[in-house]
Amino acid sequence: MLTTDTATANNKFSIFNALITNDHREFYERITNELLSIAPICNQGKSTAAEISETATEQEQITDLMTRVETFAEELHDGTKNLFDQFYQAKEDFCKSIYCTTAYIKVNLIDRTLLERTCDVRWWAMEAAFVDCLDKVRRLSRSLEKMLGEVNEFLDAAKTAFEVPTLETNWKIKDISRYVDAVRGYASRQTELMYNDEVYQEFRKKVDTLSEQLGKGKNQETTLKMLTKMVNQLEEIHECVGFACSRLEDIRSSYTLYSDLVIATPDGTIVANSDPATRPRILGRCVRDEQWFEKAIQTRDGSDYSIEQVRESRVEAGEALAFSTAVRKNGSPSEESIGALGAFFDLEEEANIILTDYMPSGVDQGAKSGWYSFFTNASGAVVGSSDCRMIAHGQFAPLLPEHRNLAEHDTISSYTVFQGTNSTIFSAKSDGYMDFPGLGWSSHLVVPTADIFEAGDGAQHKGISSEELMRSKLIPAINKDTYVKVQDDKQSIKLISLNGIVFASKLGKRGVALGPVFDKITQTGDFATSKMEELLREMAAGELGLNLKTLETFSKQAIDLIDRNLFERSAAIQWWSTDQFLWQACLEPTEDNLQNACHRLRDINGSYSIYRNLILADRMGRILTASTPELIPDVKEARVADHPWFVGAMRNNSGLRYAVQDVGACDLERASRSTMIFSGAVRQRGDRNDEIIGVLGSLFDWVTESVKILKTCLPKDKHGKRIDGCVAFYTNRYHEVIESTHKEIVDLSSVPDLPEEHRELETGESTSGVLRLGEKVYIIGSSRSKGYREYEGLGWSAHILRPLF
């Protein structure tokens, strides 16, 4: 990651810099005053020397000594100035690295989520229900159009037949006319008839009444036949639209990230959506001129997709991010498009979760005053903000050009005044994630500058002595050198004045006058050097504090990333367990049905590399089929009835609609010590409220995924190189290690002797401290899972260790 400094490039923290705290200014002033008082003392010493010396050599010796003291005091003065510069520079550098990383983590979280969404939309577009629905609608709507075009003629003819005035029929003509007219009006309302349930039901009632009346007349067979055919076709359309809607509903209730999902025909008519509340309003609407739709229809093949930021759509009143792609003939990625699927991602909620996170909290659970976090899109407009009243959505954020024109993955920081407060803005630009190129967004973090330079809470040493800390790897070489230099200076000034006193004592009574001079020099030297030592220790404590904070941030990132990953797994299992092939196989485990289910599971597993196996079991716990049955030991005899994932899914009633078996050994996988299984109940007809007839389980590739994430969260130096000796690991709710980057240091299944505060973290809480593992001393940052959306988390914690030596 390249870090650019603008405002801070040549920043020397002279004592006149506005950023220097009052405490430090006072500190500096006291040292300076003390050192400045040396000069008159030395002058006094020189004149005393002239008075008392008996020989020229003697006087010279004393004068020399005084000059040495003066020079030395000046050096100390310069040293003090440099020390402040060093102090502030170090703090600035460190904060830059922490907060730029934080800004980057935020935009990276968004990228990771968006990548998942692009996979979702392409996967769902292949769903048979949507393909069928579009097929049927296309076929039936044409013949329906034809029928509706002719219906009035038929009705006229039917009426005429009644118009032969006989005594018998005369009274009926008026009635028939009324019934005919009632039906006739619907001829021009094809879309409503097809997609609006209410209108359709009304129409049916009227047709029924008319048919009944017509049945009483003569020669009405053709008309009646036609009316019946029309109603049947409409019925068929409503059935397949209803099914497509219920599948979309399944998706939306499994993946709670979407405000709505819709299916549209090639001419832009919405035929199905996921939200029953808005359905009567939305179905049948035309979105032909909307970008997301046009781009979806134009996608090249099944691997192509479009993302559009939508401000106003006929689907969604609010702002959303629309993911869309074409639904293709036979659900095959290479066939022509027969419609479009649009998934409206609730960006605002997601952005809120990410933006308000990784911020120190202030009063009322909001962020600390003066801290803001927001995203801007490629054109610099705000797309999400932690405080909409200060940084409004859709507006251009007050950012310097350097912050607007970042290259991918670049970060930058500048001092500025933000909303009236002296602040530092840290920005990072997205570089996408894996094969998702990103949307050119940037993440910005605003921190009041005073908060950066305030004396950190690192003052508490958390069980490390100053000396130990000073020697540790955390302290940059330049500070260590200064520390050595200060101690050296301290010795020098002591020796100078002691030798002065020794010299004076040899002068007998004459030397007495020099006594106070050297006393004063000793005193001043001691004062200045010990103050400098104090400052160096404060610096070291600050360095420790920031290092601890970094580890907290990384541990939080580690737990967040895994929670988000597992949320996707929990959503996926809910959705898959509603699959038609699966419930059919559970209902009637015939050769064919099992074969179909197996193919289906294989398809899913083929598209997602993060599963090791997908297993379908019947309600008795017998394995019906699996995506890779050969991996299961004794697959024919295997019983899973007592497995937690199976039991959990069978017990699932309304609320939580998935179950999870925590990482551990499992006899479905003998080769691994770490199996994690998500499961969902398979129900009759895939209906959420129907009886449970089986369980679908997915064996998550925990080892690969967790190690990948843990490695991402290992601390790096400012050149982006991983720092040697760091360890990242997860513990479960029993504090056992479930995965670790360095098993020779922190082994699987062991229970590391963590400090109390690290074991007893509250949900979503982070902390940091010192850990002694055998001979080694580490600093450690820990965060406990708070889950993510519907995934509640399993009480895990993430821990990051960094060695001190």
Binding site: L495, L498, N499, I501, V502, S505, G508
Partner: protein, 156 residues
């Protein structure tokens, strides 16, 4: 009388300031063959060769790591000021350096502040114990040092 104090481990020791010529940082000691482990070797101070005596060894303590501690160059008999002679102080004939953990301070003490050494401490090189305010300083007897180490085992 003025006493120059120095520290060995956590204890304070002192010698009369009149017997001190200069205090300085440690410098490289050239080892010389010697049967007496108290003699560390010789150093060159501004052209003059001085014998280095380890105070730690004299007091029966293990030596410090290299480059640690400080050095005290003693006056020679020839360099003693008249006041020292009046007080009857004795010095080595040739330049001698004492190595100590750290030089600390110079105390002005009335002469009557000296107490005989307490019974429980080794009397080998001790003159007595002086009190300055709240701190006690063990006064090293240079006379006894000379007696123990003289004639020097080093051929200069």
């Amino acid at each position: 009388m003025q006493i120059s104090t120095f520290r060995i481990d956590d204890e304070l020791f002192g010698i009369p300031t009149l017997l001190v010529e200069e205090l300085f940082r440690p410098m490289p000691v050239t080892r010389v063959p010697s049967s007496d482990s108290r003699i560390e070797g010789v150093v060159n101070i501004r052209g003059t060769t001085a014998v280095v005596i380890s105070m730690r060894r004299c007091l029966g303590r293990p030596p410090l790591e290299a480059k640690q501690g400080e050095m005290i160059l003693l006056e020679t008999n020839a360099g003693l000021v008249s006041e020292a002679q009046e007080l009857g102080l004795k010095a080595f004939d040739e330049p001698v350096v004492l190595t100590v953990d750290e030089t600390t301070q110079i105390h002005h003490l009335p002469i009557d502040c000296n107490y005989p050494p307490p019974a429980h401490i080794s009397k080998q090189f001790v003159e007595g114990v002086a009190r300055s305010g709240e701190t006690y300083v063990t006064i090293i007897s240079v006379k006894k040092l000379i007696a123990a180490l003289h004639p020097p085992t080093v051929e200069a």
